[in-house]
């Protein structure tokens, strides 16, 4: 889901685009709404990730603040590290604007992506890969805590570029 990296790139000069989401971003909120995000399931992890995308595009920093663990980190392909505060800051800039949403939708159309979830108890790793090469573009690591999923760590590979 590397619209998030788009945001970071704009804000911090981070490395970029990775993933995509299944389906157009505009339909994402609906898809998430149909799934119980609080469930300890792979479907819920996907739904939370989709919600994450929507929250960044909408500037829903309250939701992001609750979902991201305090020491959440995102690591770019070059090893650069971003934190929770940077994500909240860049998401806030999107509030009231559809500029980012349009960029994301355009990017998604040209970057088909496969999602896969590895569940291990209350830990989930959601990975996004290039369907042609199988190479992983990025991964998000979630932990299930207090009845909901929280993002702890994200990483991005060279395959996320382009």
């Amino acid at each position: 889901m590397n619209f998030r990296e788009h945001l970071l790139a704009a804000c911090l000069g981070f490395v970029l685009p990775a993933i995509a989401v299944i389906g157009p971003a505009s339909a994402a909120a609906d898809a998430g709404a149909k799934t119980n995000e609080a469930a300890n399931t792979a479907a819920a992890v996907r739904a939370v990730d989709q919600h994450w995308l929507e929250a960044e595009m909408n500037g829903d920093t309250a939701w992001l603040d609750a979902m991201l663990m305090p020491d959440y980190r995102t690591v770019g392909a070059d090893g650069k590290v971003g934190d929770k505060a940077a994500i909240l800051k860049s998401a806030a800039k999107n509030r009231g604007s559809d500029k980012m949403r349009k960029q994301v939708e355009a990017w998604l159309k040209t970057h088909p992506t496969k999602q896969s979830v590895v569940m291990h108890g209350d830990v989930a790793i959601l990975s996004f890969s290039d369907p042609e090469t199988g190479r992983i573009r990025s991964s998000d690591i979630f932990i299930y805590k207090g009845g909901s999923w929280h993002a702890l760590y994200s990483e991005h590979s060279e395959a996320s570029k382009g």
């Binding site: 020491d71 090893g79 590290v81 991964s139 590979s157």
Partner: protein, 170 residues
């Protein structure tokens, strides 16, 4: 979060991947590395749910891999363990075991080469522990860029490796 400067502590762990990438063909004569040295640190309880234990397990991992101790590695790596390289390609548990197996019988020279590599590639370690999940990251002390991260889970009284990620930072 716990931080540690790897160079000051000698052994390092999963920088093995980076080490292997750069020095796979390196053939260094064995000297000064005891053949029967234990893989693990005797003074750290690797089963404890602490950052120190995570680091100790990671150290143990590096030595086990260099010595081809696939029995221990098999017990450490979860069945769905994955290691994602900088280019996005994926190694699974069996691939890692097969790579480690090649080191069997060459432990001393591998360890020596690894220690030499560490001297020229200083590394900071940091550990984040959330309940039974730990993320151990290795970064360049000058740039702060993360080179590698390992994700562990603590269950049934010990740490298991679930995921590794390598970046292009060297």
């Amino acid at each position: 979060m716990t931080h540690r400067n790897v160079v000051s502590n000698g052994r390092l762990a999963c920088c093995l991947i980076m080490f292997a990438l750069e020095f796979a063909a390196l053939n260094v004569a064995a000297a000064g590395v005891p053949v029967h040295a234990p893989d693990r640190r005797e003074h750290v309880d690797e089963s404890a749910p602490t950052p120190q234990a995570v680091i100790a397990v990671d150290d143990h991992w590096s030595v086990a891999e260099l010595r081809g101790n696939t029995t221990w590695l098999r017990s450490l790596l979860l069945p769905n363990y994955r290691s994602v390289r900088a280019d996005g390609s994926v190694w699974d548990k069996e691939t890692l075991l097969a790579q480690a197996l090649k080191n069997r019988g060459h432990g001393p020279e591998k360890l020596k080469a690894f220690h030499a590599w560490l001297k020229t590639h200083p590394m900071n370690e940091s550990v984040i522990v959330h309940d039974h999940v730990a993320i151990l990251s290795f970064s360049d002390p000058k740039t702060g860029h993360v080179r590698l991260a390992n994700v562990f889970v603590h269950e049934k009284g010990r740490w298991y490796a679930l995921y590794s990620r390598l970046t292009k930072a060297r």
